[in-house]
Symmetry: D2
Subunit: 335 residues, 4 copies
Amino acid sequence: MAALFRGSRNLLQRCNKHVDLVLVSSRSMASKTPVGFIGLGNMGSPMAKNLLKHGYPVIATDVFPESCKELQDEGAQILDSPAEVADKADRIITMLPSSPNVIEVYTGPNGILKKVKKGTLLIDSSTIDPSVSKEMALAAEKMGAVFMDAPVSGGVGAASLANLTFMVGGVEEEYTAAHELLTCMGANVVYCGQVGTGQAAKICNNMLLAIGMIGTAETMNLGIRLGLDPKLLAQILNMSSGRCWSSDSYNPVPGVMEGVPSGNNYQGGFGTTLMAKDLGLAQHTATNTKTPVPLGSLAHQIYRVMCARGYANKDFSSVFQFLREQEEEPEKKGD
Amino acid sequence: MAALFRGSRNLLQRCNKHVDLVLVSSRSMASKTPVGFIGLGNMGSPMAKNLLKHGYPVIATDVFPESCKELQDEGAQILDSPAEVADKADRIITMLPSSPNVIEVYTGPNGILKKVKKGTLLIDSSTIDPSVSKEMALAAEKMGAVFMDAPVSGGVGAASLANLTFMVGGVEEEYTAAHELLTCMGANVVYCGQVGTGQAAKICNNMLLAIGMIGTAETMNLGIRLGLDPKLLAQILNMSSGRCWSSDSYNPVPGVMEGVPSGNNYQGGFGTTLMAKDLGLAQHTATNTKTPVPLGSLAHQIYRVMCARGYANKDFSSVFQFLREQEEEPEKKGD
Amino acid sequence: MAALFRGSRNLLQRCNKHVDLVLVSSRSMASKTPVGFIGLGNMGSPMAKNLLKHGYPVIATDVFPESCKELQDEGAQILDSPAEVADKADRIITMLPSSPNVIEVYTGPNGILKKVKKGTLLIDSSTIDPSVSKEMALAAEKMGAVFMDAPVSGGVGAASLANLTFMVGGVEEEYTAAHELLTCMGANVVYCGQVGTGQAAKICNNMLLAIGMIGTAETMNLGIRLGLDPKLLAQILNMSSGRCWSSDSYNPVPGVMEGVPSGNNYQGGFGTTLMAKDLGLAQHTATNTKTPVPLGSLAHQIYRVMCARGYANKDFSSVFQFLREQEEEPEKKGD
Amino acid sequence: MAALFRGSRNLLQRCNKHVDLVLVSSRSMASKTPVGFIGLGNMGSPMAKNLLKHGYPVIATDVFPESCKELQDEGAQILDSPAEVADKADRIITMLPSSPNVIEVYTGPNGILKKVKKGTLLIDSSTIDPSVSKEMALAAEKMGAVFMDAPVSGGVGAASLANLTFMVGGVEEEYTAAHELLTCMGANVVYCGQVGTGQAAKICNNMLLAIGMIGTAETMNLGIRLGLDPKLLAQILNMSSGRCWSSDSYNPVPGVMEGVPSGNNYQGGFGTTLMAKDLGLAQHTATNTKTPVPLGSLAHQIYRVMCARGYANKDFSSVFQFLREQEEEPEKKGD
């Protein structure tokens, strides 16, 4: 906020870094200028639409033409590559599947940094290895741009409803400018610390989420086997110390709650493959920091097995189905 | 006593079971008659005191004289054995460490069932194997008494504050009478189903609690290693899908919350040994019902290892400390 | 061995227990007298046949008429119940699926102990909870009989080839007599200690076997994914510190070895359900002795999940197939 | 072998790669020329000494002067940096702790590739990520040198006794030249495939070893708790399907075997920290190839916890001690 009050005369005495900040500040004061958006998948598409709804012109690109077309119909301008987007927008959001995609989109031959303008604010909402975020931040800084990691929590539903939680890492002075954009797409925007801590917070959240979901599935299954009514058991857990988001907001047992994937044959939601990917990241960072994560590690393995056994595209709450006895017995169908 | 109020004409048309129910109903209508209480340990003692506070005369016994003395000072009448208590009270609550204790107190040579009066309501709040609860219920029924399992959740703090959650199993008609007594000691009383389902609900809750606590400890530890401030991380988890009771009401990281054992060197609370015991029960019931519980199983093993490594009497949230790197390095002290 | 030299005159001065020993000794000296055999399943049938091959008359019974018929064709005499067998034979071997079966066959209404003769040697080769073995030993002793636990290792193939390993627990003086019979059916007979230690040894062996098999399956799968030829990898493991029975004698990867279930679509062998059962026993004894068994616990859970997912009747080495990517991926997993 | 018969005249017509091969062949024919050795730690030092024993002049370097001095006393020539070694030897063996060390020693400012001569054979016996081996191979190829990965199995004892197992990956034509050197230091030298497969084989072996060791520790501990004599139990396992290297060649229970670390307070051998490192590599490659490794994953976590709890420098068989009840229990655990 203080940036708004910086007189340009003072800034001329500051070093390059601060010149960038000034440019960023002026960027944030020039509201509703075009925002670049790269990555228009399940998450990126509704996020970009929410920017449009808030009156921001959006300049976008994606490797899949159908995704581009859809955004174009909503009013976005479509360009051919990240570099071209960088040429036209001084605030860019990226939403990509994994580290290699981020590296390519930022530093590849047609990448953002090929044409990025000084002072551009780059917000990467992908969920990737924090060390890659730090690499991108260094590369961006060399080009005079500012990079922040801002991965999200909430899933496709929350993306549509602009209900996401953003966990932001980067230089604190940039947070205001980022906040302005992110609040169009999310209900919670949290500053976590230096670059990479947004990823750290996201990875930690998802590891605990996975543990809670598998734990809830095991517990509900056991309770049902012991004669408890599932709805009653869920109520008891939710008023007791067993309470967690998976049991009270996303229960994996069909019929216990409405409006969640378990009531829709585990369609939609947050796929098992994506959860396995996030848990792989968590395991990776844990190994690199010598942190013991026994349950997180096992949760990763469970989702990994599920990917190999037909659950790859089901919502991650389908672990309940995975652990349950198969309906058809006794001549077990081979697998 | 209650017999004085029974119209014999009506009763002759009912079957034996309903005769018991009438006896029980009249029991519940004669409020503030003495309540028996067997087992005056960390939990039983504050529970019995809360009954006294509500104006119920308490007739109690325990194998440890000091526990008895303490209750006596509060106004309870102390007798020498469960049988003697059964002789004097037609509502009895038991709060014992494990299945063998329960079997002894109910069916042993000086046990409750040696002198229990017809129509007595027996409420066992111990946490034991549901199949033992069912055995006791059958044995009680032979003596014309009614047995309900009503294990608790909440720990020593909640016991003192009458904030416990009771999970009750048994014949539904008895629930009202049980409810009357239990609400003196708890804030939540839930009817779960037939005998044994109270234990089932308790065991399920504690398995999910253990999974959530270890998961929270791993997650907080990982986040701290990745550069996140613990308080901030806890806030983020608690507003996101990682949220659970262990992170928002009993955080295991010193300094994140007040009034929890992590801020008091893990003293008090709910001991690791007790959690290991509950998880052993969960594992046992899971094996018997062929239910896969991978995370619950591993949680059991982790607490089991902790018991062997000096954490037996610390609060179960000390798992955070267990997973953390030891302060003194590099010549690691042997163990 | 010493038993062979005991003069009967001396023994008359001994107490009841020693009289039993005399009777046992005389039993063992009267070779080729009928041997009772109860339980003619996948294991019991070939075991009984091996006794016949060694010239022992066999008096048998089983709940399934087809199993009885098969043995009858081989020359065994079939009776109607365990009690009747006990009436006719003073050495009896039992081979039953689980603890409840053993309790029924020994102590049930038509059980062995209803008609057992003083001095009878009872050898139970079932794999059950050691505490049940101890119960049966006590019950047998009351009837003047001697009970030993002698569970086996080796599977159906070894049963046919009389290649089993017997792990025997019971009073040491009986070992000779047991040894005589067991060597007809096995290549290794080992005295483990008091009653129950045979079960302990068996349970321990199978827990380590399960861990080794799953470990081998994971390792082979990983190596193949990293570009190693399976046969070469197995050779390397088998000459290195990774070597174990599962990798060098029962490799779970099709094509690596001949004559093992992995080369026969995992048919035959030692079923997943049976392994899950043994691991449940291991877990049970571990919990009762407060022993941490993290890998054993997880191995139990893995086989438990496999039972629920179509692998119940496949050989336990099918865990390799379970962990592998499914050939047919209807919906391609993303990422 | 064929290399021995290549006339240099023919080779001049071949492309650059084949010129390198000629240089390599001539290298291998000029036996006993100096061999470079970089990394003189617990493993590298005895390995280099074995080369000296076989009559190879050794030109070595290490960051620790004491290690250099020790080798110098044995007859090696010590130089100041990897680059200088590369300048003097056309066969170089490296034995370093981890990927960053390898990257530094090969590609750093004073690294091998700064001065490496065309046709040099580079054998890296470090245990690192296979993808780093592949990177080094590419970098070496650019300089006209040939890189092979040849990690070892066997530990410090085997290193001294020249009993190591080498698992070699790289172009097959180079295998002969590598074999010549490696047989001075090991009893088994195995060609695994392309570059990186040596690492793959090593990582797989150590993952299975860790699983076997923890499994053996759990099993021995359980058996002892169930009343079995440890030596007897080990014998039974070793004649049965539970048999593995950890139980029959490196038993973790003190008193069961001689000449292993368990009999020497777990000193020496193969440290827990190193095992944790190798398991981290295994997990990393498993995640990258989407391979489920539940037991391997948990083994990694167990050793990670042990590192944090005082076992970092003990032999990895100390897991038995870690799982055992502590002798001294300050506050007796209840129950």
